[in-house]
Structure formats: structure tokens, C-alpha cells
């Protein structure tokens, strides 16, 4: 179920404040954040965020297309390193 429109989009206040500050100073520097559930609002466009994925901070450069998505959508939390190929014997031989 989607969020009630009455409430408006959820924006992490602290992150938003930081963005505002940077906008006022007309500066662009990465903002470190854990607020993965924070919606991207138009003010964020052009800023770089370092979004925590549970282990490290991933670079997320916000473009216009991303407005309306959440920061966490761009910082993947899972890593997949392809399945091994061949049989056990082949793998042992190539080692």
C-alpha cells in the first residue's frame, strides 16, 4: 500500500537540512547518510550522496529522473558473485 498523500513524501529532515545548507552556499559536496528511506525531492538534484548499504557508503549522484524514488533504491545491499561453472572435478583441476 502506498503512503497517504495527506502526509506528503517522507524526507529525512537532517539530510534535507544539509542539502538546504549546501544549496544556500551553492556548494556541492558528498553528503554521508544512513537515511535510505528518504525520498528524493527536487532540491536534491545535482548533489552526491553517500548512502549506507549496511556495510559501506555508496556514491549516488542524483539526477532529475530519480526524483520520487528513495535514496536506498540506488545503494544495493546485496552482492552476487556469479555461480561457479563446471563440475567439482573440473574446478579442482583448474585450481
Amino acid at each position: 500500500m502506498s503512503r497517504s498523500l495527506k502526509k506528503g513524501p517522507y524526507v529525512d529532515f537532517k539530510t534535507y537540512r544539509k542539502v538546504e545548507k549546501l544549496n544556500q552556499m551553492d556548494k556541492h559536496e558528498p553528503i554521508k547518510t544512513w537515511a535510505r528511506s528518504c525520498t528524493i525531492v527536487p532540491e536534491f538534484v545535482g548533489h552526491t550522496f553517500l548512502v549506507h548499504n549496511g556495510r559501506s557508503f555508496l556514491n549516488v549522484f542524483v539526477t532529475e529522473d530519480m526524483v520520487g524514488h528513495k535514496l536506498g533504491e540506488f545503494s544495493l545491499t546485496r552482492q552476487f558473485r556469479s555461480h561457479t561453472t563446471g563440475t567439482k572435478a573440473q574446478r579442482a583441476a583448474s585450481r
Binding site: T63, D65, M66, H69, G72, E73, F74, L76, H83, T87
Partner: protein, 127 residues
């Protein structure tokens, strides 16, 4: 056979059913169209006269997104998700379910036919 929106040819089914043969028109929109144009939803599609067909075509043109236009729009929406490299775009790219379904089993619609992996034992064997 009546022709609506290019080459779409619904047959001798009731109008409300025949219209759903168009991509982008389901039971709801079909009923809406019949309502708006005062068509008998139960009348067979072949009984529609020229004026009615023209009216349907005009309404589809102005109010609804159907067929190729709709298909293109869907593709564009997916392409957008891919381009901004978000999680959903990533799932589309990999051909896996997008809405958080399980993938250990099932998900065959997205993943396609089962690919048997040699040496992979029963579920118990995988830790």
C-alpha cells in the same frame, strides 16, 4: 468484421467483451466506453454501425492510451528504471522478479524454463 484502432478486429462477441481485445482496454474501460457512447454492451460487435465505430475510434484516440502507444510507454518506463540504475531497474536488467518475490524457488515466469545445474543436489544439500 469491424475494425477499430488500426487492424484490431474483435469478432462476434458482445461489445463489452470485444473491446477488451484491444491492448490497454479491460473490462472496466470497456464498460466506461459503452456507457459514454450509450452503446448496448450486449450487442454483438458486428452489429455496430459506421457511426458507432467512428465514435469508438474517436474516443479511444482522445481519452485512452492503447496498443502500440501503451506498449512503447511501458518500455520507456522500464528503460527509465534501468537508466537511473536503481534496484528495480537492476531486477529488470537481470530478468528477475522486480517486486520482492522469492527467487530460491518459483519465479519461473521471469527466470524462464528451469536450467538444471549438474552436481546441485537436493534442497537439503544446499546450505
Amino acid at each position: 468484421m469491424p475494425r477499430i484502432a488500426g487492424s484490431e478486429i474483435p469478432d462476434n462477441k458482445p461489445t463489452r467483451i470485444a473491446l477488451t481485445y484491444l491492448f490497454g482496454i479491460g473490462p472496466k474501460f470497456s464498460a466506461d466506453i459503452c456507457e459514454e457512447l450509450k452503446l448496448d454492451p450486449q450487442a454483438r460487435a458486428k452489429e455496430l454501425n459506421e457511426d458507432q465505430l467512428a465514435a469508438i475510434a474517436g474516443l479511444l484516440e482522445s481519452k485512452y492510451i492503447i496498443e502500440g502507444t501503451l506498449r512503447r510507454q511501458i518500455q520507456q518506463d522500464i528503460a527509465r528504471l534501468r537508466d537511473i540504475r536503481c534496484y528495480r531497474g537492476d531486477r529488470h536488467r537481470r530478468g528477475l522478479p522486480v517486486r520482492g518475490q522469492r527467487t530460491q524457488t518459483n519465479a519461473r515466469t521471469r527466470k524462464g524454463r528451469k536450467k538444471t545445474v549438474a552436481g546441485k543436489k537436493s534442497v537439503k544439500g544446499m546450505k
